[in-house]
């Protein structure tokens, strides 16, 4: 792997943009999972 200090400015910008996009998507997925498990818990509790 090339040392990040040797990346071109374009490569650094591209890496940051892609990482930001991945992290945003992961955050949304984790938030959705919290809501999903909360919903399942409520529904199952009501059913019981």
């Amino acid at each position: 792997m090339i040392d990040p200090r040797n990346w071109t400015p374009a490569q650094t910008a591209a890496f940051m943009a892609k990482r930001r996009s991945r992290n945003l998507a992961l955050g949304l997925v984790l938030g959705a999972l919290v809501l999903l498990f909360f919903g399942i818990t409520i529904v199952r509790m009501v059913k019981l």
């Binding site: 490569q11 943009a17 892609k18 945003l24 919903g39 399942i40």
Partner: protein, 306 residues
């Protein structure tokens, strides 16, 4: 001059994947059919499932199908790189590493089965696990590179979702979902062989023994006609046995007739180059419409007549 981020080459060993690449790993177009067929079974099944749990069941089927798609792409990256249609997928294009794809697929598979089991029911979870394993192990690893019957047996993997949807509601599996299974199972060969006919060069280059590659176009067209005939007959059986009403019966009769018209068009075509394979391309597109319309009719029939 501004440099487009998507055109910048990633340094070796660095992931330049974004969320779209992970989404592409899920094979979203295949997922839509899987979700639709399981949702139709879920709507048609007798009994009641809480609306939120029904949503969870469909979500688990979608994620499970996506996991199977990711694991399929993980295993097939070498042949995907050789085919024009698949060369730009995230793995052969180098945007996602093999290890990342494997971990992503396994995590989604385990997660979808576990949530299905805990939230909805363990029979539905068991069938979901079986369908993922069937697609990855039986179809992708075992059959796809070994036999021209890969699509025939592998078709079962895509046929499981109605069983899952039905089991999610009732906790068991009765005759109608098995007919839905049979319809998807018999629909798969004409659908994929028509694609394989006009993509034959790609499959041949990648060394995938699809029927047009091993047995030629004429034999494939004959098999398409035979499977189409059996598909059309089996599609009408649920109505004949009283498992579905006249809306489904009428729809399947009309759609079946149109399917046979397309299949006969393919059978009579003698083209050897993709550019002249209009009937094959039309059958490929119509077969998608056929399955969606058939299952939609089953749901409408159930909602209208019960």
């Amino acid at each position: 001059m501004a440099v487009s981020i998507s055109t910048v080459a990633a340094p070796e060993g660095v992931s330049f994947a974004d969320w779209r690449d992970y989404y592409a790993l899920l094979k979203p177009r295949v997922m839509s059919l899987v979700v639709f067929s399981s949702a139709c079974a879920l709507w048609t099944a007798p009994g009641h499932l809480n609306g939120f749990l029904a949503f969870v069941a469909i979500l688990c089927v979608a994620v499970g199908a996506g996991a199977a798609g990711a694991l399929n792409q993980w295993y097939e990256a070498d042949i995907d790189a050789l085919m024009k249609r698949t060369a730009d997928r995230p793995l052969p294009a180098g945007r996602i590493s093999s290890g990342e794809a494997l971990a992503f697929g396994v995590a989604l598979a385990v997660g979808s089965v576990a949530v299905m089991g805990l939230a909805v029911g363990w029979l539905a979870a068991l069938i979901l696990a079986g369908s993922i394993l069937f697609y990855v192990v039986i179809y992708t690893v075992w059959l796809k590179r070994r036999t021209p019957q890969n699509i025939v047996v592998g078709g079962a993997a895509g046929a499981f979702p109605p069983l899952i949807g039905w089991a999610a509601v009732t906790g068991d599996v009765s005759a109608l979902p098995w007919f839905m299974f049979a319809i998807i199972f018999l629909w798969t060969p004409p659908h994929f062989w028509s694609l394989a006919l006009f993509m034959e060069a790609d499959y041949s280059k990648a060394g995938v023994p699809m029927l047009p590659v091993t047995d030629g176009a004429a034999a494939t067209r004959r098999q398409i006609l035979l499977y189409s005939l059996v598909l059309v007959v089996v599609s009408i059986v649920p109505w004949a046995l009283g498992l579905a009403g006249w809306i489904y019966g009428t729809t399947t009769a009309v759609l079946g007739g149109l399917f046979m018209v397309h299949a006969v068009g393919v059978y009579r075509n003698r083209a050897t180059v993709a550019a002249d394979m209009g009937p094959e391309k039309r059958l490929f597109k119509f077969s998608l419409l056929y399955l969606f319309m058939l299952f939609a009719a089953l749901v409408v029939d159930h909602l209208a007549l019960t």
